[in-house]
């Protein structure tokens, strides 16, 4: 009896789990609880714990935005974009250059255009989108793998271009601008969130956080900023859900599955690819802006290729093709792989006295000869943050092997503006009537197929060879060549699907 009650409860839970919101709240909630516990173990005060959670929220929101945009590229359309960091960099740098005051002020400062922040943000997003267009126009004719090479090359060109002396300071149409080169740009414009911070109501928000968590004004601002990011994330999620659940999204899915077949059904796939690539790049630009436009400055170092690969890991964890999965993947990536090692180290350090580590690897390995592993353990521990990359690599390999679809990447999100399934007009039975054929075998034929079909195909080919006779031999060489050519056009699709499933 209790077992049936359990089963009932389980089905209830499972049906709850069906809702995307529940999935997101459950996973993010679990992350919060774990990090709150970590805070308790480390003896953080309440404001310290809340601040830790705020930082997690900030990171998850930013990674979530970029991962959603990448999901639009790769998960839906099959565009292998590994130049994510480049588009983020363009968004941020253009925004900063547009927003920086025209009068440099300090000695080490480069001038900007001094435009208001909203216009600067729009400028950055548009610039990232245009950059996407520039890449897409020539590159979308390429096969998936070459397209990938083009995007990463573009991202590196952007980063090296920003670093280069030539662009460090330049004059365009009489305006002196600059990327700051390797030294980067300092934010000498007002805090872009001031629009909110200067609101009357914000002071009561500060008071509230002060009384609840003991936050100071700076922490309250950071919290408000994270909340804004979460709202933006929700907006992007909504936008991309709409995009994917529509006839537009259906064509994207079809491109991913078999572009040539989609073309033969009358879809101008190149136009769709260009549009979706530009949209995704613009969103990446927006995420890049929101990621760092409040910081004291930015250097090109922030946009090294590893940023792109972080986003890819998040996408793969969540499952390509699922928007909800993209957010879950970002959450797990940030909590476990990105911030996890650091906090784990702190917890271990707090609970166990590790002692001083040797300075060199040789110093760590040497004592092993005398069966003393302690220096190696200490050394490993000291280098824990470097190990992060190893952990990420291992996690990626395990995922690919054990769960290539990620958490939610079963590609079951409906690509239509309405729920598919049962017929809209339940009464409309048999209106396609003139075609029902009326032959007796209708009931059984579909079910008998899986077996029969094999036999049938064998017979077919056998029969064909017999009938062909000598003619077959005469034409063989020609045939094999035309086959090769048609196969090679199939290649991109095949390799794309392989990549997804492996």
């Amino acid at each position: 009896m209790s077992s049936t009650a359990n089963a009932e409860r389980r089905t209830q839970l499972e049906s709850l789990w069906e809702h995307d919101a529940v999935k997101i709240i459950a996973v993010i909630g679990a992350i919060y609880i774990v990090y709150a516990l970590i805070g308790l173990i480390l003896g953080y005060s309440l404001d310290g714990i809340v601040n830790t959670l705020r930082r997690m929220t900030y990171l998850i929101a930013v990674y979530g935005m970029v991962t959603l945009a990448l999901n639009l590229h790769w998960g839906y359309t099959g565009l292998f974009n590994i130049g994510v960091a480049g588009f983020m960099a363009i968004g941020l740098y253009v925004t900063m250059i547009l927003a920086k005051p025209a009068d440099p002020g300090g000695a080490a400062q480069y001038a900007g255009l001094g435009l208001p922040m909203p216009i600067a943000i729009i400028g950055g997003v548009v610039a990232a989108g245009l950059a996407g267009l520039v890449v897409a126009l020539p590159a979308l004719r390429l096969r998936a793998d070459y397209f990938a090479i083009t995007t990463i090359a573009f991202a590196e060109i952007v980063r090296l271009g920003i670093t280069s002396d030539a662009l460090q300071q330049f004059t365009i149409l009489g305006a002196e601008l600059g990327t700051g080169g390797g030294r980067g740009l300092i934010r000498n414009y007002d805090d872009p969130m001031n629009v909110i911070f200067q609101l009357e109501i914000f002071s009561s928000f500060v008071d509230l956080t002060n009384s609840l968590f003991g936050f100071g004004p700076t922490q309250a601002r950071a919290l408000a900023y994270s909340i804004v990011l979460v709202l933006v994330l929700a907006g992007i999620y909504w936008l991309i859900q709409r995009t994917s659940r529509s006839p537009f999204g259906r064509v994207l899915k079809a491109i991913r599955e078999d572009e040539e077949a989609a073309q033969s059904l009358g879809k101008d796939t190149n136009m769709f690819k260009i549009k979706v690539f530009v949209l995704g790049c613009a969103l990446m630009g927006l995420a890049g802006i929101l990621w760092r436009f409040r910081r004291t400055g930015v250097t090109p170092e922030a946009f090294r290729p590893h940023v792109t690969f972080y986003i890819w890991i998040a996408l793969i964890i969540g499952g390509a093709g699922s928007n909800t999965g993209s957010i879950l993947g970002s959450g797990l990536f940030v909590a476990v792989l990105f911030e996890g090692p650091q906090y784990l180290r702190r917890v271990i350090d707090h609970l166990v006295a590790i002692g001083d580590a040797p300075n060199t690897f040789a110093g760590a390995v040497g004592p092993l000869l005398s069966a003393n592993p302690v220096p190696l353990v200490r050394y490993t521990f000291a280098e824990f943050l470097t190990l992060q990359f190893v952990i990420m690599g291992v996690a990626l390999i395990l995922l690919m092997q054990r769960r290539p679809d990620g958490l939610l990447g079963h590609r079951e999100e409906t690509a239509a503006a309405i729920p598919l399934g049962a017929r809209p007009s339940a009464a409309g039975g048999g209106s396609g009537g003139d075609g029902s054929g009326g032959s007796g075998s209708s009931g059984g034929f579909a079910h008998s197929q899986p077996r029969d079909q094999h036999d049938g195909s064998d017979q077919q080919t056998d029969g064909g060879v017999d009938a062909d006779g000598t003619g077959t031999q005469a034409g063989t060489s020609e045939n094999s060549d035309s086959r090769v050519s048609s196969d090679s056009t199939d290649q991109p699709d095949d390799s794309a699907t392989d990549g997804e499933t492996q």
């Binding site: 537009f248 073309q263 009358g266 017929r423 579909a446 049938g456 029969g463 006779g469 034409g475 048609s486």
Partner: protein
Amino acid sequence: MSDSSTDVQSTETDTATDTADTSPDAPTDADAVAPSAVDRTGEIELAVDGLVKRFGGITAVDGASFEVESGSITGLIGPNGAGKSTTFHCITGIHQPDEGTVAFQGQDITGIAPYECADYGLVRTFQIAREMANMTVLENLMLPAKHQQGEALWRSVMPLARREVEAQERELLERVWDTLEFFEIEHIAEEKAGNLSGGQRKLLELARALMTEPEMLLLDEPFAGVNPTLEQKLLEHIHELRADGYTFLIVEHDMDLIMEHCEHVIVMHQGSVLAEGVPGQVTSNEQVIEAYLGGEV
């Protein structure tokens, strides 16, 4: 021959523009398998003239010329490597022909992009069924319909415009179910296309091609890998659709099947047309027997 075909073309341009005028209304038509609006029986639907396609040193299609009559089921046969599939590719824009012209309903469509081909009402299926494996059967069938407002990104996103998109989707879903019923595959509607059997995929591909509301279908070996029962089923569907005014050009290897079901047969050999005519004529043609049937018949 080329003279007479140009005559036909000039008379046909008028009818072709007529159909183009009426087509924007078509998507609102809820009946998936509506008869073609214009009865063109006896006219030339597709004219291929002097088609040449080379791959490096190999000439896959070498001056193929033939015509397909409107409302007919025409068979295109020939030994492996005769250039049948390449001809299909050239007609439907997947390959650019090196020489020659392709005219559909009198309009020159030589070298157009594959997606434009479907706009003209000329749709093909593939030798190996190319279903969208990770999309459901319903999604596969929703995809091809023309004039979908929601294919414009902003309409799919903006709240007010989206309502219209949803209304259109509902109409479209009705048509999809009509098509599913026509092919008697309602039971697999929510299945992922990748999970279907080989025969079901062939059915799906034909159904999907019909969702574009074509006037002519090019079927590349539609019966390969299909069991005899289903093959019979497919043939019934093809005959019904033909009766509704669709034109078919079918590549097939099974001679008996071609002889029984096609009223016109084109035999290709080494890239050009060796013979054509009614099935009886073709089977008694000595060259055909020599080249294709290997002298066994």
